[in-house]
Each structure stands twice: as structure tokens, then as C-alpha cells.
């Protein structure tokens, strides 16, 4: 026990002596948490909208006014010709383009219907779909008022049937994406810090040559690993605590569920990450290699965690891969406990899987650490 305490002391000293590292460990993640949490929204707004009006009548102007009034479309550009509008779209200045054909009003009055050209930049397919819905909605509402408002014909028609859908967004009525993103990004940052620090730790001693000195001492393998793990575990828990405080104070994130439960889960989760880090450290020869491998897994863990894009939409084989992604479980648990108030029973599957993962990874880390080089 005493041996472990000495190793822990040594590790803490090394961490706090390195003045260049301290801001990276403690300031950078929190700064990113506060800034980047505002970026992650799929909401489609401020759509870059342009139009070509070849008709110049009260009808065409009224239609354009509808777009002007909408909160989704706010940058309106009036193009004199189709060619100029297309060039603007190529340049990326316009994403939705409305083309009103010549004699629009006259033909509409005569033939009772008319076509309207809409061009949408569809590189971001999902956003294009939403933009299309917005355009259709505005035009439909315009259609309904067309008869009475513009052509002053008395309104007598069969009433169409109407299915009214009422969307209810539970746990987050205003669809504030920050309540979801802040805890999620906090998870990512805690994971990255602990993984990178532990991943580079033993390999650094290898590269500099100080590992040999430790190897010739009577320190046991498990003592050494525990001594290495503990300081990073403390840093991880500390970061999480400060992060949660910031989430509460700055973003006013609701914390409905039990905080001790959250901490219980996190304490096990960080062990998983540290185990992976030490395992990488044991298997590599230089810090560069360790860093590349740690980077490789972090990018996969982050992008396949279900935080930014939904897991259910991935192909089956990719969903199976996500089963091995610790971040996925952490994001799920964080969401369930903090926002829904789920209890121990609800998160039991995630908790038991994480515990198993922690035991396996740390077992591997101890096993793969060889005292002979």
C-alpha cells in the first residue's frame, strides 16, 4: 500500500510540475465546453435565400414578402437574371433560390394554377429536406389566402379535412440543444484528457529511459498500474465536477436524476478509459505511435457515440461496433440520469457493461505490462 502511495505522489508531482501542461489539462477543456456547446445544432435557420422575379406584379411581390417575413429565411437577395443567381449558388452565397416565371399573375388568374421554380442546394441532404418543407409550407399558406386576399373573390368552397398534429417534446420542451450537448461534450472532453494522458504516460517513461529504473525496483505490476491510474482518475473526476458546475451555472442544465448515481457511473467509466490508455501505452514504442492510436480510437468513439449523429441510422454492422464504444454508454447514461431522472434500475444494462469493460481493460493493462524490455 505504501509503495502505491509513493508512486501516486511521484505522478502527481510530475503532472503539477509541468507548467506547460496545466492549462491544457484544466483550462482548455472547460473553455471548449463553454464555447463549443453552442455550435452543435441541426436547426436549419438563417437560410441564404435569393429570388429572381420575372413578373413584378403585386402577387409575386406578396409571395416574396411571405419569405421575407419568415424567421427561417432572412438574407434576401434580388437577382436580375437566372444566370447571376446560378453563379451566386455556385459560389455558395445562396442556398435556396426562387424563380417566379414571367406572366405569373396573369397565368394564375387565367388557369387557376401555376408553377413556381425552387432550386435548393442539396449537398447537405437533411438540411435541404427541411428547407423544402419550409418553402412548401409558406407557399401553401399563401395559396389559401390567394383567393380572398388578392383576387377578391368571395370564399365558398368545400372545407378540406384537416389532421392537426401536435408535437410534444418531452424532457426538453423548447428543443434547447444545449441541455443535450453540454453534458455530451463534457463527456468527450473528460474522455479525451484521461485517455491521452494515460496513453502517453508509460510509453513516455519508456522513450526517455526512466521506465528501466522502475523496472529494477521491487514494485509489483499491479501496484505500478494502480499508482499510474489513480492520479488520472482524480483528474478526470475533478474535471467532471467543474464541468457539471459550469453546466449548471452558465447553461442552467437541468439535473433531475441522482448525482451520486452519476458519480458512481463516472468513477467506473473513467477506469475503462484509463485501462484503454495504459493498454495502448504498453503496446507502443514511442509517444508518437501511442498518440496516433489514441487519436484513432478517440475519433471513432466520438463520431460513433450517438452524440452528433443518431446511432439508429447507422447500418447494422456499424451499430454492432458501437457496442464496444464506451462513450456511447456514457452519453446514454448522462442523458438518462440528468435529463430524464432514470434510476439505477434503468441504467443497469449500461452500468454492468461498463463495469465488465473496466475489468477486462485493466486486466489487459496489467497483463501486458512487462517488467523486462
Amino acid at each position: 500500500m505504501k509503495t502505491i502511495l509513493y508512486i501516486i505522489q511521484k505522478e502527481f508531482k510530475q503532472i503539477f510540475r509541468n507548467k506547460g501542461m496545466l492549462p491544457i489539462i484544466f483550462v482548455l477543456p472547460l473553455l471548449q465546453l463553454v464555447i463549443l456547446s453552442n455550435a452543435a445544432t441541426f436547426e436549419v435557420k438563417n437560410i441564404k435565400f435569393g429570388y429572381v422575379d420575372n413578373d413584378h406584379t403585386s402577387t409575386s411581390r406578396a409571395l416574396i414578402e411571405r419569405f421575407d417575413a419568415s424567421t427561417y429565411f432572412n438574407v434576401l437577395t434580388d437577382f436580375p437574371s437566372k444566370a447571376l443567381a446560378s453563379a451566386a449558388m455556385l459560389k455558395g452565397d445562396v442556398d435556396v433560390l426562387l424563380q417566379i416565371p414571367p406572366h405569373f399573375e396573369r397565368d394564375l388568374q387565367k388557369e387557376k394554377h401555376n408553377n413556381l421554380g425552387v432550386t435548393i442546394n442539396a449537398i447537405d441532404g437533411a438540411a435541404a429536406g427541411v428547407e423544402n418543407v419550409y418553402v412548401t409550407q409558406i407557399v401553401q399558406r399563401f395559396n389559401q389566402n390567394l383567393k380572398t386576399d388578392l383576387f377578391q373573390v368571395s370564399d365558398q368552397q368545400i372545407q378540406p379535412t384537416n389532421i392537426e398534429s401536435i408535437p410534444l417534446f418531452w424532457y426538453n420542451e423548447t428543443l434547447n440543444y444545449k441541455t443535450f450537448m453540454v453534458p455530451g461534450i463534457l463527456v468527450l472532453l473528460v474522455t479525451m484528457i484521461t485517455l491521452f494522458l494515460s496513453g502517453m504516460n508509460i510509453v513516455r517513461e519508456k522513450e526517455i529511459g526512466t521506465l528501466e529504473q522502475i523496472n529494477v525496483t521491487p514494485i509489483k505490476k499491479s501496484q505500478f498500474i494502480i499508482g499510474k491510474l489513480f492520479p488520472f482518475w482524480v483528474i478526470g473526476m475533478g474535471l467532471l465536477t467543474i464541468g457539471l458546475l459550469l453546466a449548471k451555472v452558465i447553461f442552467n442544465i437541468p439535473m433531475i436524476g441522482s448525482l451520486p448515481l452519476m458519480y458512481l457511473y463516472t468513477s467506473i467509466y473513467i477506469l475503462v478509459v484509463l485501462g484503454i490508455g495504459l493498454f495502448i501505452s504498453n503496446f507502443t514504442e514511442t509517444q508518437q505511435q501511442a498518440m496516433f492510436i489514441a487519436w484513432f480510437f478517440t475519433v471513432i468513439f466520438i463520431l460513433m457515440s450517438g452524440l452528433f449523429t443518431p446511432i439508429e441510422s447507422m447500418p447494422k454492422w456499424a451499430q454492432i461496433i458501437t457496442e464496444f464504444n464506451p462513450i456511447k454508454y456514457f452519453v446514454e447514461v448522462m442523458r438518462m440520469v440528468m435529463l430524464k431522472g432514470s434510476g439505477l434500475k434503468d441504467i443497469f444494462p449500461q452500468l454492468s457493461k461498463t463495469l465488465l469493460y473496466a475489468i477486462i481493460m485493466n486486466g489487459l493493462a496489467v497483463w501486458s505490462y512487462k517488467k523486462i524490455s
Binding site: 506547460g20 501542461m21 491544457i24 489539462i25 455550435a39 452543435a40 441541426f42 436547426e43 438563417n46 437560410i47 455556385l90 387557376k112 401555376n114 413556381l116 432550386t119 442539396a122 449537398i123 441532404g125 435541404a128 429536406g129 427541411v130 418543407v133 418553402v135 412548401t136 395559396n143 390567394l146 378540406p160 379535412t161 389532421i163 398534429s165 408535437p167 417534446f169 424532457y171 428543443l175 434547447n176 443535450f180 468527450l188 479525451m192 491521452f196 502517453m200 513516455r204 522513450e207 514504442e285 514511442t286 509517444q287 508518437q288 492510436i293 487519436w295 475519433v299 471513432i300 460513433m304 452528433f308 449523429t309 439508429e312 441510422s313 456499424a318 461496433i321 446514454e332 430524464k340 432514470s342
Partner: protein, 368 residues
């Protein structure tokens, strides 16, 4: 000049002797682009939903049928009472519940009006919103079928054309992004430790007493990695063309030049990190912690920049990846020529010059 070539040769030997790192360097981006190209999408597929049907009549059956027939949703279970919603949401698998009111068909036929509640688990607001939109689209379609015989007196019909990506494939959106992220991070990481490594292993002293000028050392360090990163870029572009069927509408030559420019700017950023940090560990932490999330979130790779709050839109301008994503999407999908992307190109050139200039200035010729 001869000295400079000698230095570059030394760097080449260093890199190519370390087979394990080389293997990692080329293997990982391939694995990542394959994985992410298939797995990352911001549309929804097969989302589990539950149904709470209070009326169980012809219309609700038809709507449920339409919902389950779409590829977006799969019906996980039918529930009987309101209180069940809470229970299944807490378990976490079901993301939405459709609740039909009593006498759905009767209200529809008699009063021409009826309601459905779309209850979504909005702990993930992005997905919740998408689900709600998709259900609405299906309902609107059904309503249109019901109203076939009713004609509105005057009607404007929007004829929508989806340009650059008519099939709305999410691969078109994400492959350029993944490519950018991989090139950016791999390049910056490679050079970020190149000078700190010499500092840490003690060989920096040798380098400093040599007659090489700081500028030569810095360019000599970047140069071999440009070569490596180009190979990486070529592999990634080949994969995106042959596996993900990405079109290249514009000029391949222009794409190659722009890629080299972007790689150089990322490598130069790495060198800058290298000159200002004392140990490899610090350099790596800066390039990994400092770059990873900002590049993923602020480059427009997943989240549209135009929807972000204004301060973040301004910050996104200093991310080189943002400009490269605009450039490659332009060349690959829109088929634009240089006249449309000269501004973005100029910004990348400016950033590269800035990074290299600052590195030369920060490069200390004395050891502390």
C-alpha cells in the same frame, strides 16, 4: 542548398525507418474513412416508436400502416395508457410515441378535424425534431390523399429541384468532411512533435550548432511530410470515388493543388505547435485536445455554420478546415473552377504563410 538537401534526407530516413508508425499512418485513415463514410448520417432510419391508439379505427390503422411502411420508423410496441409513455422513455430505446385521440375517424369525417400527438423524447433535441418533421411529412401526405376531391381555387405549385445532390445522399455531405478532418489532424500531429522530439531526446543541440538556418530547419521538417500526406490524400480520394461513388465534377488537377495547399497549412500549424511547446507530451496534447473538437464542430463538417450564433460563426473563420471543406465540396460536387474559390484559396495561403512565419520567429536558436 546541399546542406538543406542533406537535412531533408535525414528527415526521410527518420520517417521511413519507423515502420510501425508508417503502418499506423496509412492504415488508420483508410479504416476511418471506410467506417465513417458508411456509418455517419444525419438522417434517421429505423427509429423505434410506440403507438398509443385510443380509437383503433380505419384511419388510425391506415396511418400506422403508412408509418411502419416507411424506412424511417419501425414500430416497437403498442401501448395502452398514457402512463406507459414515461416508463418506455426512461428505458431509452423508444424515441417517440404517436398518440391518436378518441373517435379519430368519426371526428375526421364529421367535423373535418382531428388531432394526433407526436410525443418525442427530446433529450436529444436534434433527433426529436427530425422525427417530428418526418412524421408530419407522412401525415401531410395522408391528408393530401383524403383531400383529393377538394380543390383550392387558385394554386401555386412549387417545382423543387435539388441541385448538386439530387438523391439527397448523406455521403456527399460527410465524405468531404471526414477527408478534411483526417488530413488536418494527421498532418498537424505529425509535425507537432517533430521539433519537440529533438528537444526531448537531446538531438536538438546538434541541430542548433549546425549551420542550418531556422527557416531551413522548419521547411526541411515540413517537406517530407507533405509527401506522406499527399499519398494519404490520394488514397482517401480514390476510396471516396470508387467506394462511395463521389463524383468529381470539377478539375482533378485543381483538387490536387488545393489539397496540397491544405496539407501544407495543417503541417505548418503542427510545426508552430512544435516550436512553442517544450515536450512531446505538451505538443501532442495541444494538437489533439486543441484541434480535435474545434475542427469537428466548427468546420461545418456535421453542423451547419449558418445556424450557429454569430460569435461562433466568426470563430469558425480561423479554422482552416472550414475553408477546405468549402473548396472540396465546390470542386467535387458543384464542379466550380478557380474563379469561384479564389477567396478561400487565398485565405488558406495566408494562414500557411502566417503559421510558417510565426514558427520561424518563435524558433529558438539557444537552449534554455
Amino acid at each position: 542548398m546541399k546542406r538543406f538537401i542533406g537535412f531533408i534526407k535525414k528527415e526521410y530516413y527518420h520517417i521511413f525507418r519507423d515502420r510501425r508508425s508508417l503502418f499506423i499512418l496509412f492504415g488508420m485513415p483508410i479504416a476511418q474513412i471506410m467506417l465513417f463514410g458508411f456509418a455517419i448520417t444525419n438522417e434517421i432510419n429505423n427509429v423505434d416508436i410506440a403507438i398509443l391508439d385510443h380509437s383503433k379505427d380505419a384511419d388510425t390503422k391506415e396511418i400506422i400502416h403508412k408509418i411502419s411502411a416507411s424506412k424511417y420508423f419501425s414500430i416497437n410496441q403498442l401501448i395502452e395508457k398514457e402512463s406507459d409513455i414515461e416508463t418506455i422513455f426512461k428505458k431509452g430505446k423508444v424515441k417517440a410515441v404517436l398518440s391518436f385521440e378518441n373517435d379519430f375517424s368519426k371526428n375526421l369525417n364529421k367535423e373535418h378535424k382531428t388531432t394526433i400527438q407526436i410525443i418525442t423524447d427530446a433529450t436529444d433535441p436534434n433527433t426529436a425534431n427530425t422525427i417530428s418533421n418526418y412524421v408530419n411529412a407522412i401525415l401531410t401526405q395522408y391528408q393530401k390523399e383524403l383531400n383529393k376531391d377538394v380543390t383550392i381555387a387558385y394554386q401555386i405549385i412549387p417545382q423543387t429541384r435539388m441541385v448538386y445532390n439530387p438523391e439527397l445522399k448523406s455521403v456527399y455531405m460527410f465524405v468531404p468532411g471526414v477527408m478534411t478532418i483526417i488530413l488536418m489532424l494527421v498532418s498537424a500531429m505529425m509535425t507537432s512533435i517533430s521539433i519537440t522530439r529533438e528537444k526531448e531526446l537531446g538531438t536538438m543541440e546538434v541541430l542548433l550548432v549546425s549551420p542550418l538556418k531556422p527557416f531551413q530547419v522548419i521547411v526541411g521538417k515540413v517537406f517530407p511530410y507533405i509527401f506522406l500526406s499527399i499519398i494519404n490524400a490520394v488514397i482517401i480520394v480514390m476510396l471516396s470515388i470508387f467506394i462511395f461513388k463521389m463524383p468529381i465534377q470539377g478539375s482533378l488537377f485543381l483538387l490536387a493543388l488545393e489539397s496540397i495547399l491544405f496539407i501544407t497549412s495543417a503541417l505548418a500549424l503542427g510545426i508552430l505547435i512544435s516550436t512553442i511547446s517544450a515536450t512531446q507530451q505538451t505538443a501532442m496534447m495541444i494538437s489533439l485536445m486543441g484541434l480535435m473538437l474545434p475542427v469537428i464542430l466548427l468546420s461545418g463538417f456535421i453542423f451547419p455554420i449558418s445556424s450557429m450564433p454569430l460569435p461562433l460563426q466568426l470563430i469558425s473563420n480561423i479554422i482552416p478546415a472550414k475553408w477546405f471543406i468549402i473548396i472540396i465540396k465546390g470542386i467535387m460536387l458543384k464542379g466550380v473552377g478557380f474563379q469561384f474559390i479564389w477567396k478561400e484559396t487565398l485565405i488558406l495561403v495566408g494562414m500557411t504563410v502566417f503559421f510558417i512565419g510565426l514558427s520561424v520567429k518563435k524558433y529558438k536558436i539557444r537552449l534554455e
